[in-house]
Subunit: 464 residues, 2 copies
């Protein structure tokens, strides 16, 4: 069992004894397991919990939370562990509640375009299950995250420009509160104006307000036809202007991703592709046969007016899959650019009118800093990612990367943007949240205090 600073304040032994008496071997406390569950996919070091349990159902979650609340022991809900801001680190130790065994798809309501799932269901598992129903779940962060984790961090992905993020796609949440009571935030109707929007309050709360035990999320009909396109640009500005005009024109683009030169050189090496190594847009259009043709052709003419060239579009599934696989493998590909380094993945999101400027200035800054950092972006949303490739043993380099990162975030904030488009605050971006929202962080803390007076639910995240 790990030793923790705060152990003397809280009665962790009491909690472990009580949980052990009930759950026996199912309470894991070995260092290897605790280390693993205290670490996400980011560069943040492991902050292991005292113990890990995989509850089988909501009643077990309630039992564990009640014990922890009585003993003032932190509870850290855990999905696939793919977060990027240390969101699942057990900063003060405590009990990690992993959703690995709560991975049932409870009911597919095809006529209502929704599905009820347990929190441990992953997005790929869900879409595999939906095969043959004519429906799909569009939200696709890079990793195969769990629906519970995606709701907790308000995740999005490449389809958000058309289908929205988790904010728009969670219908209701069943959650265990800090006192062990259980709530369901809403009914299953498409809309409602009944009381405070607890669903949206839980979405993005990063495990600090409740432990999710069931979620209803929206589904969409699989489009009759899908086309994909690639287009090259001489400048980031030309690419971003194309995106603005496409949206202005009302073309319901389903995906539009920007990849810069460096990203494409990494992609070409890793995925054995032959993309031109210039600023490039990847598109996808959903609709009828006629509709996707019309959308593709319109997009092409807009792109060409903005200096786009070599516009190629296809409705072939294989070509399309190959393209998106390459896009989804950007993180792995980028790693190869610097085999001795580690990836620090971060993102910001700005009003789209400021996107070209924000990316340009950031690229200039990267160049001056000399740090290797490919840029990829969900540009339809004004959202882009920086993959900082840093040797974490080199203090100077780490400091330079941190400064570069800080300048990028402050730049985004000064353009009325956000410090995190889709990764959440975790404990990595706490200072930036304050810069972003100022005294609006106050009411967040009051809400936390009201719902979790003992501060047991994922303490130390979002704010201090």
């Amino acid at each position: 069992m790990q030793k923790h600073q705060d152990e003397e304040i809280f009665s962790y032994d009491q909690t472990l004894d009580e949980l052990s008496a009930i759950f026996g071997d199912r309470l894991k406390t070995t260092a290897a397991i605790c280390d693993q569950f205290g670490k996400d996919e980011s560069f943040h070091p492991s902050k292991p919990p005292h113990g890990v349990i995989q509850p089988r159902n909501a009643a077990e979650v309630q039992e564990i939370v009640r014990i922890c609340n009585r003993n003032r022991t932190p509870v850290i809900p855990h999905g696939a562990g793919t977060s990027l801001e240390g969101n699942i680190a057990a900063l003060r130790g405590g009990i990690c509640l992993d959703s690995g065994l709560m991975d049932a798809i409870v009911s597919v309501n095809a006529d209502d375009f929704d599905v009820v799932v347990q929190p441990g269901v992953t997005r790929r598992q869900l879409n595999a299950h939906l095969k043959g129903t004519g429906l799909f779940f569009p939200i696709d962060p890079g990793a195969d995250a769990t629906i519970g984790g995606m709701a907790a961090t308000r995740a999005s992905g490449t389809n958000a420009v058309r289908y929205g993020s988790m904010r728009e796609n969670v219908v209701n949440i069943e959650a265990v509160l800090a006192d062990g009571s259980m709530i369901r935030t809403a009914k299953r109707s498409r809309k409602s104006s009944a009381g405070y929007d607890l669903t949206r309050l839980m979405v993005g709360s990063e495990g600090t307000l409740g432990v999710f035990t069931e979620l209803t999320v929206r589904l969409y009909p699989v489009p009759e036809a899908i086309s994909a396109a690639v287009c090259c640009f001489q400048s980031i500005g030309g690419a971003v202007d194309t995106v603005i005009e496409i949206i202005q024109y009302g073309i319901p683009v389903a995906r539009v991703e920007l990849l810069d030169e460096l990203t494409l050189s990494a992609v070409n090496t890793y995925s054995n592709t032959e993309f031109n190594e210039v600023p490039t847009l990847f598109f996808e259009f959903h609709g009828s046969e006629q509709g996707v043709q019309e959308q593709s052709e319109l997009a092409q003419s807009i792109a060409e007016e903005n200096g786009g060239s070599a516009f190629q579009w296809t409705t072939h599934t294989e070509e399309r899959n190959r393209m998106w696989r390459a896009r989804h493998d950007v993180a792995y590909a980028s790693k190869l650019l610097r085999p001795d380094g580690r990836i620090w993945s971060t993102d910001v999101c700005v009003p789209i009118s400021r996107l070209a400027e924000c990316i340009d200035q950031t690229r200039q800054d990267i160049k001056e800093t000399g740090i290797m950092a490919p840029i990829v972006g969900h540009v339809g949303d004004g959202n882009f990612h920086l993959l900082l490739l840093v040797d974490h043993t080199n203090e100077e380099e780490v400091a330079a990367a941190e400064n570069l990162h800080t300048r990028m975030v402050l730049r985004a904030l000064s353009m009325d943007g956000t410090c995190t488009g889709e990764h959440g605050i975790g404990y990595g971006k706490i200072a930036f949240l304050k810069s972003e929202l100022g005294n609006a962080v106050g009411p967040m803390k009051w809400i936390k205090q009201a719902l979790d007076p003992n501060d047991i639910l994922n303490p130390g995240k979002i704010f201090e």
Copy 2:
């Protein structure tokens, strides 16, 4: 000045004295004005405030709220007064803060598809202002409500099936909290995962958590082409099945409204139209010329498979406007069905798979009760309205209507639906909120207590 029950508990005189010293004649306390501002468009009787002020800016709002908070005087934010559940009634007196003078359109950010407005801007005013920009604001409750009021009640309307409700379309809110401090809930980027979603918490909070002083809302490109269609059905079931299949097929219908026989007979009389008096769907499709033709033809074939007949579609603006004017005038038309009665407008929303059943059972109930009650519905969302035409001087009839209403709401709840699709809880539906969400009302109260410990912001609404 009105007398109020609670006057002895709170120092209302002190508040009025302080406000009068600062605002002079701008503080209105005559009975006629107070009565007017204590009454919305519903059947709920007027609950007048002690005084009405129209602040000119956020600083004045802060000043007034600080005085009221110090003296424990209720503050009731007021928009156009078009709410339907007594949402703006001054149940314990206090000061009505009317947004009438805060009606500036602060900035149209065309490239970002958003607009910053003061809360008193109405939806028609906004769309008139947007003329020529190629953009529009889609949310259209029946009344010409203010953007502040629409956000406060989480309003929607006929376009919600395609464009979402206020939940999806408010980007951020600047609000004065109960202690007089001011927050801005989010930046202007399209998405963010930075902290708790205070924007969505404010949307639908009905003035109980903050007084809105500025809002950013989303805009959409005016479609290149618009077509409208009308289709008749033998049964409500055939109409609803048509809607389900249209959505399942992925047709991005912009509007789809159900009108029953009684509604159409009222419409024909009032609007001098010649619609068949049978269950009918009104459609609207947005897209390219080719796209709206394709959508209309597909919708027609689906409708015909479900017993739909006399499908007529048009791209003529005049015909289309005439049709939607008739739809928007349903409330006035219905009034003529019973000139001695008053309209009690209420709505529920259910998962769409249960909609036909819910409407059928409600119609059966209406028939047995003998009350005149046209039904109109935003059926793409599973949302429908009942316009109860009741003689409010007849106690027996009022009781029968109340029972009918209660049965409809409980029916909707039993089908996993909500007691209010778009009017909010106000004080008319407090009991139903409890039936709907059970102990999830607890955390709502804790949040209210945390943000407004003196219970000054629109007290007595949403919960007791």
